[in-house]
């Protein structure tokens, strides 16, 4: 089920919230678990069984690890089994087809296989269960003996299918006891409406521009058109994913939870390193805590740090999808981060802020070409056109038309990518006067109504990160 669907907004969410707020505290987790299972089963009736099995297995594994903690060998053995099973499940459903296809490309024989559809959200909930298992082993969190609470942690519908990836340590207390107030509910509703508007009014609109450009064949595409397509996608993915994350954080608040923010105005970054501190923060944090630091991080010398960074970025790319262009995308960032860390980091600091900002944006946009391309070959060709190789011309009427008709949209998206709008908005509506509260309500109601008007007339528009 999509957050930005009429059935979610006008049936699932109101019914769930009503029941959730009516039942006494001890029953809230049961309501949340059942609602989350319905939410998932709506689109994945077969794979809900997989998720239930994953919950049961990780629940038992947590208990197994905890009881063996006094015997380090046995505890490690339990951890290895649990991690291996989780990775095998993820690997099978996400990478099995990719692996066989890659083997078939190099082997003289054709290996037969049947590729299964990717269970939605599997990458997100597997990383959550892994964080729990590893933290129980590390003694960082207490084992969860209440199956309902553990089930809520894995299935919680606000962040189940596209994150943020919530570490168990961040919600351990909240699963037992959380603060549910009307103020928090209101705050959550604001986050949700803002996220909905980001997705529906900006991401979907810029997505239309990108779709138009990607329909043009390379021989018919000008340099200008290729850049417009890339700019459109750059805005689309930010407003789509950060919009989803805002909705997830908002829904969490409405249910009494506090999730970490997943974005911090990433397009304001002045280096690639800074960009990754601001983009998909929960994924970066996960890889740092559970892969980079256990590998030795930067504590084992320059060469080992480089290897560790490349491993992490190879895995980050692969996490996004079973395809070589995602691997390339991950490696691209690995190399850029290594260059910044060991070669140009100090010199970059001395460059004027605007130049650093443009440098970051340019390389981020090039990165998105690998990300949106269906194949590596497509990505190279698209990049070629962006820089004049194989392009029809530099500027053509199509490019000018797309630029003129979407200039206002791009300007809104550009301003919306900065903290300015939020600051100004905050100053205007949160002044403490009653009239300003009314104004805030009117603005959010307007945003909500506009989004709904768009939703009822538009076609199916899933979130980009659903396929991961």
């Amino acid at each position: 089920m999509l957050f930005s669907s009429i059935v979610f907004l006008f049936t699932f969410l109101p019914v769930t919230l009503l029941v959730y707020y009516l039942v006494p505290g001890r029953l809230k987790n049961i309501v949340l678990l059942l609602a989350s299972l319905v939410f998932y089963a709506w689109g994945e009736p077969v794979y809900v069984i997989l998720m239930v099995l994953s919950i049961l297995f990780n629940y038992v594994s947590g208990i197994d690890i905890e009881r063996n903690l006094e015997n380090p060998f046995k505890a490690k053995q339990s951890l290895v089994i649990a991690v291996a099973v989780n990775l095998l499940i993820l690997g099978f459903f996400k990478y099995y087809g990719f692996l066989i296809e890659s083997l078939n490309a190099v082997l003289p024989v054709e290996l037969p296989y049947k590729e299964l559809a990717l269970p939605i959200g599997i990458s997100f909930y597997t990383f959550q269960t892994l964080s729990y298992i590893i933290d129980v082993y590390r003694g960082k969190v207490q084992v969860q003996k209440n199956l309902i609470s553990f089930g809520v942690y894995v299935t919680m519908f606000p962040q189940l299918i596209a994150g943020p990836i919530v570490k168990y340590s961040d919600v351990e207390m909240q699963l037992r006891d959380r603060n549910i107030t009307m103020e928090k509910f209101g705050d959550g509703a604001i986050y949700f409406v803002r996220g909905l508007a980001k997705k529906v009014l900006i991401a979907n609109m810029t997505g239309l521009v990108f779709t138009k450009v990607s329909a043009i064949t390379f021989s018919e595409m000008s340099v200008l058109t290729a850049w417009i397509g890339c700019i459109a996608y750059t805005f689309q993915i930010y407003f789509d994913f950060s919009g989803y994350s805002d909705m997830a954080v908002g829904l969490g608040k409405m249910l009494g939870f506090e999730f970490m923010k997943n974005f911090d105005y990433p397009y304001l970054s002045k280096s690639i390193t800074e960009f990754w501190r601001r983009w998909h923060i929960s994924l970066g944090t996960w890889f740092r805590e559970y892969v980079y630091i256990p590998l030795g991080g930067n504590r084992k010398g320059r060469e080992r740090t480089i290897i560790n960074l490349m491993i992490v970025w190879f895995l980050t790319g692969l996490w996004h999808g079973a395809s070589w262009n995602f691997v390339m995308w991950g490696m691209y960032y690995g190399i850029l981060l290594i260059i910044e860390k060991f070669m140009i980091g100090d010199r970059l600091e001395k460059v004027p802020g605007m130049c650093r900002h443009l440098y970051s944006l340019l390389f981020v946009m090039i990165g998105w070409v690998f990300f949106f391309s269906p194949t590596l070959g497509f990505a190279w060709k698209y990049l070629g056109v962006m820089f004049g190789v194989g392009a029809k011309t530099v500027v053509d009427s199509m490019g000018i038309y797309l630029l003129i008709t979407n200039l206002a949209l791009f300007a809104i998206a550009a301003v919306g990518s900065t903290a300015k709008v939020h600051e100004i908005f905050g100053r205007i509506v949160y002044g403490g006067y009653k009239v300003r509260a009314v104004l805030a309500c009117a603005i959010y109601a307007g945003m909500f109504l506009l989004s709904i008007a768009y939703l009822v007339t538009e076609t199916y528009n899933p979130f980009l990160y659903f396929r991961f």
Binding site: L50, L53, F57, I63, D64, I81, T211, S214
Partner: protein, 169 residues
Amino acid sequence: MMRKIHSRERKNGLDAIFITQMILIGILVLYVAVLLFRKGESDTPFAEMEQAVEGVLDNSDMKEADHKMFRRNYRLNANDYDGVMLWFREGTMEVDEILVVKLKSKEQSDTVVEAIEARKKSRKESFQGYGASQTKLIEDSIIDVRGNYILFVIKEDAEKIDQVFQKAL
């Protein structure tokens, strides 16, 4: 208390947690095997499938094609199948098309998929070079083979129709 029970169980060679883990792994393997080897045949009557897919087309200006048109476009005979449903949008620049076929036997699957691929190719060739949005729609079309049912959609909301199709199976 819990620890005492565990240690007693382990001494007796019975480890409930370990056994539970192994049972769950066994169920997981079995579940994956079922997903991989299930025949996937649907017993949904064709009329029900038709109703479900047509339900999404409400208020759209698509028209239902007859068997002659199916034969002309796909070079297949509708009577060879348990059910055929073809919807299209009229107009020289329109590409929207939805086809649902219920097979009589799984052996027919390859023939139908080949016919669909041929249709897709010829539609693409018709628009390539001047109809950018039409070409894109054709490229993004969905061919979904689910056991004895096959769906082919060229439409902007192809994924939505595919979801309805899958739900109706």
